[in-house]
Symmetry: C2
Amino acid sequence: VRIVLLSGGTGKRLWPLSNDSRSKQFLKVLKNMDNQFESMVQRVWRQISNYGHGLDAYVVTNQSQVEMIQNQLGEQVKIIVEPSSRDTFPAISLASLYLHYVESVSKDETIIVSPVDPYVNDDFFYFFDKLDAAAQHADSEIVLLGVKPTGPSEKYGYIVPKEKCSKKELRKVKCFVEKPDQSRADQLIGSGALWNCGVFAFRLGYLLALINKKYGYVDYLDLLQHYNSKLPKISFDYEVVEKAQNVHVIEYPGTWKDIGTWNALTEEMNTNTYGNVYMSQDTTNTHVINELEVPITVLGCKDMIVVATYDGILVSEKDASQRLKEVMKNYSNIPMYVERLWGNYKIVDFVKTEVATTLTKRVFIKEAKNLSYHVHYKRTETWTIVSGQGIVVIDDRMIYVGSGDSVHIKPGQYHSIKALKDLEFIEVQCGEDLANDIERKCLAWDDVMEHLGMCHEEKKG
Amino acid sequence: VRIVLLSGGTGKRLWPLSNDSRSKQFLKVLKNMDNQFESMVQRVWRQISNYGHGLDAYVVTNQSQVEMIQNQLGEQVKIIVEPSSRDTFPAISLASLYLHYVESVSKDETIIVSPVDPYVNDDFFYFFDKLDAAAQHADSEIVLLGVKPTGPSEKYGYIVPKEKCSKKELRKVKCFVEKPDQSRADQLIGSGALWNCGVFAFRLGYLLALINKKYGYVDYLDLLQHYNSKLPKISFDYEVVEKAQNVHVIEYPGTWKDIGTWNALTEEMNTNTYGNVYMSQDTTNTHVINELEVPITVLGCKDMIVVATYDGILVSEKDASQRLKEVMKNYSNIPMYVERLWGNYKIVDFVKTEVATTLTKRVFIKEAKNLSYHVHYKRTETWTIVSGQGIVVIDDRMIYVGSGDSVHIKPGQYHSIKALKDLEFIEVQCGEDLANDIERKCLAWDDVMEHLGMCHEEKKG
């Protein structure tokens, strides 16, 4: 069995903690058994690994999430990168073709697809084995996992089986109903319907044959090179599941939650406040998350969510927080907090005047990591080292730096920095236009050093 | 007549808009008739000036507020500076001695004392003339202005006249009652009591004689030099008013408000949001003030106050905001936004590690103003110019700077900067300990230039 975890999504529903660089699945707001904060992705990864499927799992995502996933799950995690963000049919097809053509996975093997961030108990993954067995033995094309509803929710999709209820673990699916109103949901549940949690299994050969039949012969490199044109931008549900003749469902009776709103998320938090927060004793059913250094004081509030980050501040009545995605849909701003494989940065100040834009960042580089060797043409940069030790390269010159040191980089000067010990510095960018003004010469430090060697030789010669 | 405006107060009741550097009277949250924001101090000053008393007025305050008052009222405003913050008896005594011994004001002239920030209509100042006349003609020692109560408030002090109500404008005062409970307040109002708004008048000679009789001969310089010991730290009410034999009161029937809480302040604001704020339509009776660049999104709130500044974030139910002073009483932090005569600065980032503390400021210097010529011994400073033009002096060397330029100042190097045009720059301070590490050589730019001339001559010689 191979497990394909889909990681997508933009950052609006849990703004301002999520942004265009940090989707909800990466937010470290849940506590694990050791009382340490973990993200939804980390929680699922831990559960899958504990269940022994760590080596069978692949994460499918786009370029913008790769470094975040490596930071959170470790650099050895197997990632299949979409060339661009499309929909689940192309994404699952890309993963399937990769498994067959690159990893030589047999057409008989089961592929289990799951979102990367369901909030479930460990027993959820026991059902992956049942999906595998069903995909192998039944004459079914697709086997779905259906969650036993805990109430007539209007937010979910429902899987309606042919038989209302039976002793058979595997039931044939009659139809699907998306987000019914409450009375229809009640009716559906009465007839044995289950919530669609986006988890399903199929034999690899089934999908490959389907793709070849409808879109002609496609291998992994074909799809990778023509990702935007080869397959339609459509969900796997529409393109495959709802058109299939033999779809079965297995009922999962345990905990499953879609933590996609602040209201749902705060229900799973073990603490009411996070960060520098004072909350008065008469404040009730209120959660406050503060990622800033300055304090938040909350007095006499009821049923509220308050979240303050470098990206902005949310103050919402709990139920109203469901409307956040709609409210923020036209809002776009550069992400103020960004994680990279080499570390992270926060934009702490931003000034735009008629003559120039100035952006001030606090940058953290992990020990032994480095920035690329790159150049800007329309800005100056000034770095002041806060703590740690590092090597700065500017125009082929090396400078060792530590706390209090400062370097100034002029437009046109290639530059890079490597952390010898965990390194923090303040970067002040100043220029007419800070957007899209970067050219990279090389990424790895060895290449920077090799380049320097060449330069020195050139100079000698 | 001379008008003495008392400006004191710390910054807790309207935190986080007020801080230890910016008291509530200086917050620009009220709108004038031209729809421009003005502070309570500016409003009172405009009213007094319109009434023709601008040249008669003096502001008494401590050193920490001098530059703020000059910024808001203009540098020509007459300020009497207390050597330290004590109470109203020493402060009013200092002002009275100053007027007599420095400005040669006659002992027969009337002194009117008022807080610098009552929220009143213009007709309030018409009553200043009545106070003056009463102080001159009656055989009274002190004449108070009493506000006609609009309800049995528990927050004010009450002036109880001997006669319940009379056609006489000037009534003798029987006693004072501080913050009575509601039923007592009702009873007091029934017997003609008025609110004490801290405005009163006396003949200069009366107070001078009182001081001399009780504390021996004291002139202005005496008191200035021995401010902490010469007179007790006590309020003028306790030391003078409540002990006087002949105290009269004049009734003021118009608008008077003490805007000392967020709840009271928001009632006077012409707008529900200030700054980068999105508020959902179903949000009711809610005020949001955002001094940050990043957005605040408010969804579904009711009767709330949300205030975000560089100093912190307040989220409070409106009535609960009265408890802010109590809640914040043990909180102290360096002010993150500070106004100076030369401009202002914001602390935009603050990092403390084991090896060093790093403080990042955005500094604004007004055209033709300059910082003092000063030195630090335990920190480096790096300035990156955002916009404007200026002259930097480091260790007697002059450098012209503009947008994108950067200068690095090492420990032990004297430095200064002057704005040739409105100048904004990012300052990154980095050192073991940033507190109390400054020595100033001179303040005025002419002195810096003169010093440079000397240095250059020394070098020539």
